[in-house]
């Protein structure tokens, strides 16, 4: 049963939430929710006609050059590498996300372009090569100069500002991707029955629901019953 069908069933009251959860599972089988938008190529996410137009326009011309994209990809994978839990930033298509978001939020454009150039200039001075052409060891040395804001030397402050932005965009791109959301362990965005914090978690932090709370809050078995006051 797909989401839309299960929601309809839920609305009609013919199905309990528990059944829906077990029927659909937490995982969306198709990986994408929503149908294809008639007007655009992107999956539908409730866009108005003007919004479809805006998305299409943004999807058009790339902002970054191929060389810039290559640097972004190397940097992103150094920030979020593959580990035992999940893949790397580029596995989650973070560079593509960054390529889009700088067009969507143009305030990122100049600091990103200038920062990439700053990085290459520094690498040329130090290693006589652009960042991507440096050895792995050299790249790490370079990042160590700009990745630690509180200890970085004042002459590298522009690099620190750039790297803070690059770190933020990489992390946000990764942890809002399907892979990143799974890694974080977010398990919501699905029909559910909230009946309070799980008992073991309450216990872990030394909490319990007091009597007043238990007496006044929803008894989850009443969820489907029409409310009356008289």
């Amino acid at each position: 049963m797909d989401r839309r069908e299960s929601l309809k069933a839920l609305a009609l009251g013919t199905l309990s939430v528990g059944t829906i959860i077990s029927a659909t599972g937490c995982e969306d089988k198709k990986g994408e929710s929503g149908s294809k938008d008639k007007a655009g190529d992107m999956p539908g996410y409730g866009r108005t006609a003007d919004e479809v137009k805006r998305d299409k326009a943004l999807m058009g011309e790339p902002f970054f050059t191929a060389a810039e994209m290559k640097t972004i990809t190397v940097l992103a994978d150094m920030i979020i590498p593959k580990d035992e839990h999940s893949g790397s930033a580029s596995d989650a298509k973070v560079p593509e996300f960054i390529g889009f978001i700088v067009k969507d939020i143009p305030d990122h454009q100049l600091p990103m372009r200038g920062g990439l150039k700053w990085l290459d200039t520094q690498c040329l001075k130090r290693y006589n090569a652009a960042f991507v052409d440096c050895s792995e060891q050299q790249r790490k040395e370079m990042l160590d100069l700009i990745a630690y804001p509180e200890t970085a030397l004042p002459e590298n402050s522009q690099g620190v500002a750039f790297f803070n932005r690059m770190r933020d965009l990489t992390a946000t791109g990764f942890f809002t991707s399907k892979m990143g959301i799974k890694d974080l362990g977010y398990v919501g965005n699905t029909p559910n029955e909230w009946d309070g914090v799980p008992a073991d978690v309450l216990q872990q932090y030394g909490y319990s629901y007091d009597e007043k709370t238990l007496a006044t809050c929803l008894k989850i078995e009443d969820r489907g019953k029409l409310m009356t006051w008289d």
């Binding site: 996410y45 804001p149 399907k178 029909p191 932090y205």
Partner: protein, 579 residues
């Protein structure tokens, strides 16, 4: 095509401008009484269950910007169209002051966005001048509005608990959801500091109130619009059933320009521009009800000039547009180290907080006159654009699993693990307070600027007084106390006098009211106590414009109650042939 005014053939009993809380309620009550209603809405039709419009249960990655707010001001999945700026529909500001005006041109208006916080005004809120000498009293009391609040509760559904607090009246509540983990922690801190933390009062169905709407299924996304109508929005809960009566004709994309009047000064209908063909039309009705939002309704009256009404309609007093006031807002975030590495479970809950902090102090012992309530955030949300930002300001202050503190910032596997460890350990506090209504905070018609429909636009003049600034300072102090009492770390720097203690621009809280206020004296008010214009008996305003004062409460529940009350007064007056 020649430019001409095209009349709509049909004659109506009532024409309502705007389909938000006030207009939706009027449409429902008036149509149920058998009156023929024209409902005009400046935006498109909207139904959150329409797959073409739905955003509920979409994932962050369904949006190429991961839900960022660059297209819609509250993010890609927020149900509200429009925002602070609308193409071709400007507004201006005066004397270097600030006002941000949020408009949502769509069926249901801004009820598609709001936080569903549904608080009644209390006895003191209607008579605050009698208590502290500031502002003005309403011409009505809590006791007069209470029966309508009761009916709104039962018709729409709001959860909460009976608390017997003096100025936070109880209602007919649905059972609230149990608090989340961080909410229990806030409650404990509140107990320590003598700050009450009680179940919130949101118009979300923990149990249903009728067969057309399903109970909440806990996705926490009310602001996206609910496909099973488990929460309140005017379009789903009021307009939709009103349309079923067959007595309501909806005119969507109808931008109303002017209220039309006859030689005697009576309203005869409205003139509007159909956004789809940019032609001018009119609708005729025996009664005109404005519910276009406080500022938009004021704009309409000021733009409805005639020989009989040179100052604008219903404005001999000059009060239309004045006494504009929005809630105050100031906020602070915190981090709870004890919640790091927390166990994962579905913590979505309802769309919003399960507990909140009502105003708890006596202003007579403080250096500012009016109170505020505190809204709370936190928990394990779906990450969207902005998730993980600024970790370099935090991860150098938190010991790692090995007990050692790393240098802030960094990159690589250890940084990647920090994001996981910190997930769900953030909290946020936002104060929402009462601003005192003043004559010198106002909107008026800009003499030089029109919008793309040729309609003169609004110009705002708005300043905060010391009362609001000191209130914001108190909020900031309280947020820090709460965060410290929880064992948390306040994030960023504490807002100080240079930013008015983080006080947001007026308009930002989207609770603006007061521009067509009610009162017993036609010289100092626009409407009488039934939301009826003193000067035009068949003209009513049922949005927030009618408010004499904002309370430290969100205005929607009071708009709904007063619109219901005004609508029944209209029915009664029509029967008696008084209008």
């Amino acid at each position: 095509m020649a430019f001409e005014i095209k009349k709509q053939g049909k004659a109506y009993d009532v024409c309502i401008v705007g389909s938000g809380a006030g207009g939706g309620m009027a449409a429902k009550i008036l149509s149920e009484a058998g009156l023929k209603v024209a409902l005009l809405e400046a935006g498109p039709k909207y139904d959150p269950a329409d797959p073409e419009q739905a955003t509920q249960l979409k994932w962050s990655y369904d949006s190429p910007r991961r839900g960022a707010s660059s297209t819609r001001p509250f993010g890609d999945f927020d149900a509200a169209y429009g925002g602070w700026q609308i193409d071709g529909e400007p507004y201006t500001k005066k004397n270097g002051t600030q006002f941000d005006w949020f408009r949502s041109r769509m069926l249901g208006g801004r009820t598609n966005h709001w936080g569903r916080i549904s608080l009644r005004f209390g006895p003191r809120d209607f008579k605050h001048k009698s208590y502290d000498g500031l502002g003005d009293d309403w011409p009505i009391s809590y006791e007069e509005v209470a029966p309508f609040y009761d009916r709104v509760d039962k018709m729409i559904g709001v959860f909460g608990t009976k608390e017997n607090l003096p100025n936070e009246p109880d209602g007919f509540f649905l059972p609230p959801p149990k608090p989340r983990m961080h909410e229990l922690m806030i409650k404990k801190a509140g107990d320590k500091l003598n700050i009450p933390v009680i179940p919130s009062r949101l118009s979300i169905l923990t149990r249903s109130v009728n067969k057309d709407r399903s109970p909440c299924f806990y996705c926490s996304q009310c602001n996206r619009g609910c496909t099973v109508y488990g929460d309140f929005s005017s379009s789903s809960v009021l307009v939709k059933p009103a349309m079923k009566s067959g007595h309501v004709d909806l005119y969507d994309n109808a931008m109303v320009r002017e209220v039309l009047t006859d030689d005697t000064g009576k309203a005869t209908g409205v003139a509007y521009i159909d956004k789809t063909d940019l032609q001018e039309y009119s609708v005729n009705a025996r009664v005109v009800v404005l519910a276009a939002s406080a500022c938009e309704s004021a704009r309409l009256l000021l733009n409805s000039k005639s020989a009989k009404h040179p100052n604008g309609l219903a404005n001999s007093s000059g009060v239309v547009g004045k006494y504009l006031h929005d809630s105050t807002g100031s906020s602070r975030g915190g981090f709870l180290p004890m919640l790091m590495d927390r166990k994962r479970y579905n913590e979505d809950g309802v769309g919003g907080m399960h507990v909140y902090i009502p105003w708890w102090l006596d202003n007579k012992k403080l250096d500012f006159a009016r109170g505020y309530h505190i809204e709370l955030g936190g928990g394990m949300h779906m990450p969207t654009y902005g998730y993980g930002f600024g970790i370099h300001t935090l991860n150098g202050r938190i010991p790692g699993k090995d007990g050692k503190t790393k240098p802030a910032g960094g990159y690589g596997a250890s940084l990647k693990d920090d994001y996981r460890r910190f997930y769900g350990a953030y909290i946020g506090f936002a104060g929402r307070g009462e601003c005192i209504a003043r004559e010198d905070n106002y909107c008026e018609i800009d003499p030089n600027v029109v919008d793309k429909f040729g309609i003169p636009v609004l110009r705002f003049n708005y300043t905060w007084s010391e009362h609001e600034i000191k209130q914001a300072k108190h909020m900031q102090d309280t947020f820090e106390e709460l965060i410290h009492a929880m064992g948390g770390i306040p994030l960023g720097t504490k807002a100080g006098p240079e930013t008015n203690y983080g006080l947001e621009n007026p308009g930002r809280i989207i609770h603006e009211v007061g521009t067509t206020r009610m009162g017993d004296d036609p010289k100092t008010s626009v409407l009488n106590k039934y939301n009826q214009a003193h000067e035009v008996k068949n003209l009513f305003v049922v949005d927030g414009g009618a408010f004499v004062s904002q309370a430290d409460k969100n205005p929607t529940w009071t708009i709904l109650a007063l619109s219901m009350r005004a609508s029944e007064y209209i029915i009664d007056q029509l029967k008696k042939q008084n209008i």
